[in-house]
C-alpha cells in the first residue's frame, strides 16, 4: 500500500486536500491567520511577536536549533545523526503528554520534557544547563511552530489518574493476561524486549523507522518510569508514534494491573539504570564450567553491566547502534576462563545481502600482553604498537554460532588467527529478543605471541563490542565499550582460614586459664 508519509502531507501548500488554503500564498496565509487570531484570541496560542515569544526565540536559537532546526521542523544539522530524530514541532504532535489521546500537551508537559530530557534519546536534561525561567520561556516559543496551538481554544483535557493498585502476585498475573489480551506483545515482544512480530516494520508519523520500547529497560523510557508516567503513556498513547491509547479498553484497575506486570519485568524495582562497575570480577570455581548459557549455574553468578555506545571515532561510523548495554558474568577454574554475555537485540540476524542484513555478533577484547605500566592498547581494537586479542562470537551457520579468535593492531588491521590456534569455544542462543553466549578459553595457551596468558590477581583491561546485523552493523559499524578491568579473584591461601581458628583457640584458652586462676584464688 502506497501511503504517503506525514512529512509529504505536511509540505507547505499540501497540508490538506480541498482546503482553500491551497490557493493562497504563504504570505497571505500568515497574514490572514494573524488577523483571525487577533479577532478571536485563543487560549492555547501565544501572541506572536510579543516580548515573551522573542525572549523564548533567543534561547531557542542558542540551544535548540542544532537538532530541532530554525523552523522547528526537527531538521537541524545534527538531526541525521540522531535516532529517534528530533521532534518536528510543526505538527503539534508531542510524545510525552498528560492529556488525553489526540490533544495537545499542556505547557507543563513541554516544560517537563525540556527539564528532564528524554532518556534513551538525544534530548538532554536541561535542568542544570538552563535556569527555570529560561526553560519556561521556551514553551510559548515552541508552540508558535504549530498552528494547532493557535487553533485550539480550550485547554487540553488531562488524563485522570485513578487510585493506584499495589503490586502483588494477583495483580501481576492479571496484568500479564492483559498484556496478552491487548496484544502488547505484537510490538513489545513476549517478554517485553521489543521483538514482537510487528516491531521491524514500525514507522513514526514522518515515516522514519521507530522501535517499540524495550520494557525491561525502563531507564530508557522517554517519559520516565514512575508508575504515573506509565499510566499516562497507556491511557494517552505516545503521539506521532504507533503507540496507541488504551483509554477505551483499560479502566483504572486494569491499567494498574498492566503497569504492575510491566514493572515485574524490570531487573530492579527502582527501574534505574544498573550501576556501573569498573571491574569485572571472575570467581574461581573448582567444578567444570557449564558451556550452555541457559544452565542454572549461570543464574547464581554475579552480573556486571557495561554500557555500549556507537562507534563514531573511525569511518565508517555507527551513530545509532542497537546495543546500549551488555551484561557480563565471568568465572574460571584451574584450566579455563568463561565469559557469559547477555545483550538485547530484537532480531536474530543472519547474513542476507539482498536485504542488506549482516550477521549478529559480539566480541570480548583483551590485550595480548597484560600491561605492566599505565600504557594499554588503544581501546578500539588496538594500535600499531600494542595488539589486542578478540574473542568473537557470531550467529554463523551452526546452531551454537561461530567463534573466532582475532588479533588487532587497529580497527582496520584485524586478522583472524590460524585455525590451529583457535582455542576459544562458544555456545550462543537467541530467544525473545535476547542473546546469551558463553565463551570459554584455556587460561594459558601455546601461542604466547598472539594469545593473552591469563593470570589471577591481575587487573587486565577488557572491552566489549556488539553488532546488530539488521541495523546495518558490520565491521567498524558497531556498538562499543571503553576499557574496563577484568580481575580473576585469586584463590584465598589456606592460612586465611587457619589464622582465625588459631586466634579463637588462643583466646578461649586464655579465658579458661584466667577463670581457673580466679576460682583457685577464691
Amino acid at each position: 500500500m502506497a501511503i504517503n508519509p506525514l512529512k509529504i502531507e505536511m509540505a507547505p501548500g499540501r497540508i490538506s486536500a480541498g482546503l482553500p488554503i491551497l490557493v493562497l500564498s504563504g504570505t497571505v496565509l500568515a497574514l490572514s491567520f494573524s488577523i483571525t487570531m487577533a479577532e478571536e484570541p485563543a487560549a492555547q496560542a501565544p501572541a506572536a511577536g510579543s516580548p515573551e515569544i522573542e525572549a523564548g526565540k533567543k534561547i531557542y536559537q542558542k540551544w535548540c536549533i542544532n537538532c530541532h532546526g530554525e523552523e522547528g521542523d526537527g531538521a537541524g544539522p545534527a538531526a541525521d545523526f540522531l535516532r529517534p530524530r528530533p521532534r518536528d514541532f510543526r505538527t503539534g504532535l508531542f510524545k510525552i503528554r498528560s492529556t488525553v489521546n489526540g490533544q495537545l500537551p499542556s505547557d507543563q508537559d513541554l516544560f517537563n520534557v525540556i527539564t528532564k530530557g528524554m532518556p534513551g534519546t538525544g534530548m538532554p536534561r536541561w535542568e542544570h544547563a538552563l535556569k527555570e525561567p529560561d526553560r519556561r520561556q521556551l514553551v510559548p516559543y515552541i508552540k508558535t511552530f504549530s498552528r494547532r496551538f493557535a487553533r485550539t481554544k480550550d485547554a487540553p483535557k488531562p488524563v485522570v489518574i485513578g487510585k493506584q493498585i499495589a503490586s502483588g502476585a494477583d495483580s501481576i498475573a492479571k496484568g500479564k493476561q492483559l498484556f496478552h489480551d491487548m496484544e502488547c506483545f505484537k510490538c513489545h515482544g513476549d517478554e517485553g524486549r521489543a521483538d514482537g512480530p510487528s516491531a521491524p516494520e514500525l514507522t513514526d508519523d514522518w515515516n522514519y523507522p521507530i522501535r517499540p520500547a524495550n520494557l525491561t529497560k525502563p531507564w530508557n523510557f522517554r517519559g520516565g518510569h514512575a508508575p504515573n508516567d506509565l499510566y499516562l503513556r497507556l491511557q494517552s498513547g505516545i503521539s506521532g508514534t504507533p503507540m496507541p491509547s488504551f483509554a477505551d479498553s483499560l479502566d483504572n484497575d486494569k491499567t494498574w494491573h498492566l503497569i504492575n506486570y510491566i514493572m515485574s519485568l524490570w531487573p530492579d524495582p527502582s527501574g534505574d539504570v544498573p550501576s556501573l562497575k569498573v571491574v569485572l570480577r571472575a570467581r574461581r570455581v573448582e567444578s567444570e564450567i557449564p558451556a550452555k548459557p541457559g544452565d542454572p549455574f549461570w543464574l547464581a553468578q554475579e552480573a556486571f553491566d557495561f554500557p555500549l555506545v556507537g562507534q563514531v571515532i573511525k569511518e565508517p561510523r555507527m551513530f545509532t547502534p542497537t546495543g546500549n548495554q551488555i551484561e557480563v558474568k565471568a568465572v574460571y577454574n584451574d584450566r579455563e576462563v568463561a565469559f557469559h554475555l547477555t545483550w538485547d537485540d530484537p532480531t536474530n540476524s543472519r547474513p542476507d545481502s539482498s536485504k542488506g542484513i549482516f550477521e549478529d555478533a559480539v566480541a570480548v577484547q583483551l590485550p595480548v600482553q597484560i600491561p605492566t605500566g599505565t600504557k594499554r592498547p588503544f581501546f578500539l581494537m588496538g594500535d600499531p604498537e600494542l595488539a589486542v586479542q578478540l574473542l568473537r562470537w557470531s550467529v554463523g551457520e551452526s546452531a551454537d554460532g561461530t567463534v573466532t579468535e582475532m588479533n588487532g593492531n587497529g580497527i582496520a588491521r584485524l586478522v583472524a588467527q590460524p585455525s590451529t590456534s583457535q582455542e576459544t569455544r562458544g555456545v550462543g542462543e537467541f530467544k525473545n529478543g535476547r542473546y546469551r553466549v558463553v565463551l570459554k578459553r584455556p587460561l594459558r595457551t601455546g601461542n604466547t605471541a598472539q594469545d593473552i596468558q591469563l593470570e589471577p590477581g591481575k587487573f587486565i583491561p577488557i572491552a566489549f563490542f556488539a553488532w546488530d546485523g539488521s541495523n546495518g552493523e558490520t565491521g567498524a559499524k558497531m556498538a562499543i565499550s571503553h576499557w574496563y578491568y577484568f580481575l580473576m579473584e585469586p584463590p584465598l591461601a589456606k592460612t586465611v582460614f587457619i589464622y582465625p581458628v588459631i586466634g579463637v583457640a588462643v583466646a578461649a584458652g586464655l579465658q579458661w586459664w584466667m577463670i581457673r586462676r580466679l576460682r583457685q584464688r577464691s
Binding site: A2, I3, A17, G18, P20, V23, L31, I35, S245
Partner: protein, 241 residues
C-alpha cells in the same frame, strides 16, 4: 515614505482578501430548489503506476494470505475506484447531514470502505470485526489525531471531526492496512465506485471549482457550470503522479 504607505496598503489588501477567503469557507446548508447535478467518470490517462501487493506477513489465520491493493483499483476502460470528487468553493447548498453515522470497519485486517466520507460535526463509527487487536492511527493536522488500540473487547469506537481534511489512516500492527477518511464541511463530496462513476446531486445553479483526488494519482481541478434541473457530465482523467 510613499513607498511604505503603498506597501502597507498592499499588505492590508492582501490580508483582507485572506480574511474574506476564510470567511467564505463557512458553509451554509438549507433547502435547494432548482438544483442541478454533476455526474461523470474518473479514468486513468496513460500508464498506470506500479502498486505493490500488500505483504500479509502476520496473523494469516485471521487476515488471510493475500489481498489486492486498494491503492489503485482499476475497472474496465481504466476507470478508477476510490477517487474523491468534491466542490471546494461552494458556500451554500443542501443541508450537511450530521445525524447519519459513517462506518469504517476493520474486517479480516482490511479497512472497509477504503475511503470513507464523514461530515464535520457528524460521527464516524470505527468497528473491529476481527478477533484480534488493531490500532486506528490517523495522520491529521487540521483535526486532532487519533491513535487508539482496538482489541476485540472494544468492537466500536466513535470519532468526530472538526475541519475539512483528507486523513491518512493506518493500523501499525498490520502495516498493509490503510484507509482514508474524508472529513468535509460541505455535502458535495463523492467517492467513485468500481466503474469510476460519481454523482453530486442538488447542486444550486452556479459555477464551481471541483477537485479530484486519488491517493496514488495526480490531483486535478476542474471548473464546472451547473444549470437548474440539469445534469452536467464531466469526464475526469487522472495521470501518474
Amino acid at each position: 515614505m510613499k513607498m511604505t504607505v503603498c506597501v502597507k496598503t498592499a499588505l492590508i489588501l492582501v490580508a483582507l482578501s485572506g480574511t474574506s477567503a476564510r470567511l467564505s469557507w463557512a458553509y451554509e446548508g438549507g433547502a435547494v430548489t432548482d438544483g442541478g447535478s454533476i455526474s461523470g467518470t474518473v479514468k486513468l490517462n496513460g500508464a498506470a503506476p506500479e502498486v505493490k501487493a500488500p505483504d500479509i506477513n502476520k496473523d494469516q489465520e485471521v487476515c488471510g494470505k493475500t489481498k489486492p491493493s486498494d491503492a489503485l483499483v482499476m475497472g474496465a476502460d481504466k476507470s478508477i475506484k476510490f477517487a474523491v470528487v468534491r466542490l471546494t468553493n461552494i458556500a451554500k447548498g443542501k443541508k450537511l447531514e450530521t445525524a447519519a453515522k459513517s462506518v469504517l470497519d476493520q474486517n479480516k485486517c482490511h479497512f472497509d470502505p477504503h475511503v470513507v466520507v464523514v461530515t464535520v460535526g457528524g460521527t464516524l463509527q470505527i468497528k473491529n470485526s476481527d478477533p484480534i487487536t488493531h490500532n486506528v492511527h490517523t495522520f491529521s493536522i487540521e483535526n486532532d489525531p487519533v491513535n487508539k488500540a482496538q482489541p476485540k473487547s472494544l468492537p466500536l469506537i466513535e470519532a468526530k471531526f472538526t475541519a475539512n481534511e483528507t486523513i491518512k489512516t493506518q493500523c501499525d500492527i498490520h502495516k498493509w492496512m490503510g484507509a482514508w477518511i474524508m472529513a468535509t464541511d460541505n455535502p458535495y463530496v463523492a467517492v467513485t465506485d468500481e466503474h469510476g462513476k460519481f454523482s453530486l446531486t442538488d447542486v444550486p445553479p452556479g459555477t464551481y471549482k471541483m477537485e479530484i483526488w486519488h491517493e496514488t494519482l495526480s490531483r486535478e481541478t476542474k471548473e464546472v457550470v451547473v444549470k437548474a434541473r440539469a445534469d452536467t457530465a464531466v469526464a475526469v482523467e487522472l495521470k501518474k503522479k
